[in-house]
């Protein structure tokens, strides 16, 4: 199975986890994911995920002017976002544990 297929289900969690470390603009989130080892995540997927989480009310955003180019839109987690992160990561950890034991047995 392609890693990108696995990623689809957990990209929300991954993006929320990166933003939990600090506010970031889109490309920063992309780099954060890459730095964490998720090399196969597509730029467009990250931007799409950010938009969806924003539209779902889990993120807020603010604009910071930049000298060298267009302004940067920073995304920041709000309380519902933090709650979602907690919830999803618990689910993930349980799921991963189940999978791990399953895979080890096999």
């Amino acid at each position: 199975m392609d890693t990108s297929q696995l990623l689809k289900g957990v990209l929300d969690l991954a993006v929320l986890a990166v933003l939990d470390r600090g506010d970031g603009y889109g490309y920063e989130v992309v780099r954060g994911l890459r730095a964490a080892g998720l090399n196969e995540v597509g730029d467009a997927s990250v931007y799409g995920t950010l938009r969806r989480l924003y539209n779902a009310g889990l993120l807020t955003s603010y604009v910071v002017p930049s000298d060298e180019g267009p302004h940067r839109k920073y995304y920041s987690m709000n309380a519902p976002g933090k709650a979602r992160l907690r919830e999803t990561s618990e689910q993930w950890l349980a799921f991963a544990k189940t999978m791990e034991s399953l895979v080890k047995v096999a």
Partner: protein
């Protein structure tokens, strides 16, 4: 995995509720959008914009804000080699990028191919509406046809479907190939041409004031009874701030252009008309038929009668004839003026003479009017159908049967006293 999927699905319905729950969100749309200068980035962005054209305009502009910043940062990393091919190699094609973004953002997939041209139709209509109304209203003003101007103003309504859902920069019109070509045809930054066009563009506020003055004048020309300069100036004081505000508004929000550009055309046409009539008015006054009376005798105002050649019923020329009008006033054909090739002179004023008199001709050698005696002339005499009316005229003896004083007026007409002018030697 099923738990995970449930979570994914539940993210959708919470969207609307979630948006309301975040009042602290900064208004992003009001942030200044700094244009990225790299053409490759612009091209790539335009490609993505086209792929997302079916989405709500505000959402698209938010996405493009994000992606534009991303792309320019990427282009900066790539350095000089940041052309469209390099961006495509790094990110995939704009359509692939858009498709991936759609999937991740939970937007519906792009509508089938037939919907793509349909989505650009409102933009085309808007552009056509703008062009038709601008050209039509300008020409209508020039031709002084208010009804036509109003008719063409309706063409702006073609843009309503687009303007109600497009953003302030009207991206879907800006993405039209025709508009792109027009924008690309502008002189390059740094060229001499560009500096002169920039200079002209910097005069825009002056135009805002000028058009306000024209608008004030137009209002009085159309509705007002008095066109005093004071009244126009007073109205100008009201109109000028509105015009300047409108100018700034249309710089910020390009949707105003659909109202402003056609009216600019009308103002420019009105100025042309005023300038034109200012140059033409002295000539007009001179050639006005009301203020200039033609000397001499004219038939239907078109053909000058220079001499009268009386003949009798048999076509025999008569001489020494005096003519009088219904009031007994002598009919004088002499215009006392003779022309040739644009040169003219005045004949010496003479007392009325009997007809035929001959004509007056311009003599190029002396520069004066020369008398030309009447030349032999053959005319076709109409054959009278009522024979008896001619009989008493040709049979003078019958007159003596019923003697009448020669000064007696005809029975049907009112008494008219004619005065025979004294014979002259002219």
């Amino acid at each position: 995995m099923s738990d995970q999927e449930k979570k994914q699905e539940s993210a959708g319905p919470t969207a609307a509720k979630g948006e309301e729950a975040v009042p602290t969100t900064m208004p992003i749309t009001e942030a200044p959008t700094v244009k990225v200068a790299r053409p490759a980035v612009e091209d790539y962005l335009a490609g993505i914009r086209g792929e997302l054209a079916d989405l709500p305009a505000t959402e698209v502009s938010e996405i493009l804000d994000d992606v534009g910043a991303h792309l320019s940062e990427l282009a900066a990393e790539l350095g000089e080699g940041a052309d469209t091919a390099a961006l495509t190699a790094r990110l995939g094609s704009p359509s692939a990028y858009a498709a991936e973004l759609r999937a991740a953002a939970g937007y519906p997939p792009k509508p089938a191919a037939q919907a793509a041209p349909a989505s650009s139709t409102p933009a085309r209509l808007a552009l056509i509406g703008l062009l038709v109304s601008t050209v039509g209203m300008t020409l209508g003003t020039l031709a002084f046809e208010p009804a036509f101007v109003l008719l063409c103003a309706l063409a702006v309504l073609l843009a309503v479907p687009l303007l109600t859902r497009d953003g302030p920069r009207v991206p879907s019109v800006a993405a039209l190939p025709a508009v792109q070509n027009f924008l690309n045809a502008r002189p390059k930054v740094g060229s001499t041409w560009r500096s002169s066009t920039d200079f002209v563009a910097s005069l825009q506020p002056a135009w805002w004031l000028l058009r306000a003055f024209v608008a004030a004048g137009l209002v009085f020309a159309v509705f007002g009874t008095s066109t005093g300069l004071t009244a126009v100036l007073l109205l100008f004081l009201v109109v000028a701030p509105v015009s300047v505000l409108l100018g700034f508004a249309s710089r910020r929000d390009r949707r105003w252009l659909w109202a402003v550009v056609p009216l600019n055309g009308v103002a420019a046409a009105a100025m042309l008309l005023v300038a034109g009539s200012g140059l033409a008015s002295p000539v007009q006054e001179y050639s006005s038929p009301a203020s200039y009376s033609q000397p001499g005798l004219w038939l239907d105002g078109a053909r000058e009668i220079e001499d009268i050649r009386p003949v009798d019923a048999q076509g025999q020329p008569l001489s020494d004839i005096y003519l009088f009008d219904q009031n007994g006033q002598a009919i004088d054909v002499s215009s006392q003026r003779c022309y040739e090739d644009g040169r003219s002179s005045y004949a010496p004023s003479v007392a009325p003479r009997p007809y035929p008199r001959g004509t007056s001709q311009f003599d190029p050698t002396t520069g004066e009017c020369r008398h030309v005696p009447p030349a032999p002339l053959v005319v076709a005499v109409p054959q009278p159908t009522a024979q008896p009316t001619a009989t008493p005229m040709t049979a003078p003896p019958s007159m003596s049967v019923a003697p009448q004083p020669t000064t007696a007026p005809p029975a049907s007409g009112p008494p008219v006293t004619t005065v025979k002018p004294p014979p002259t030697t002219g």
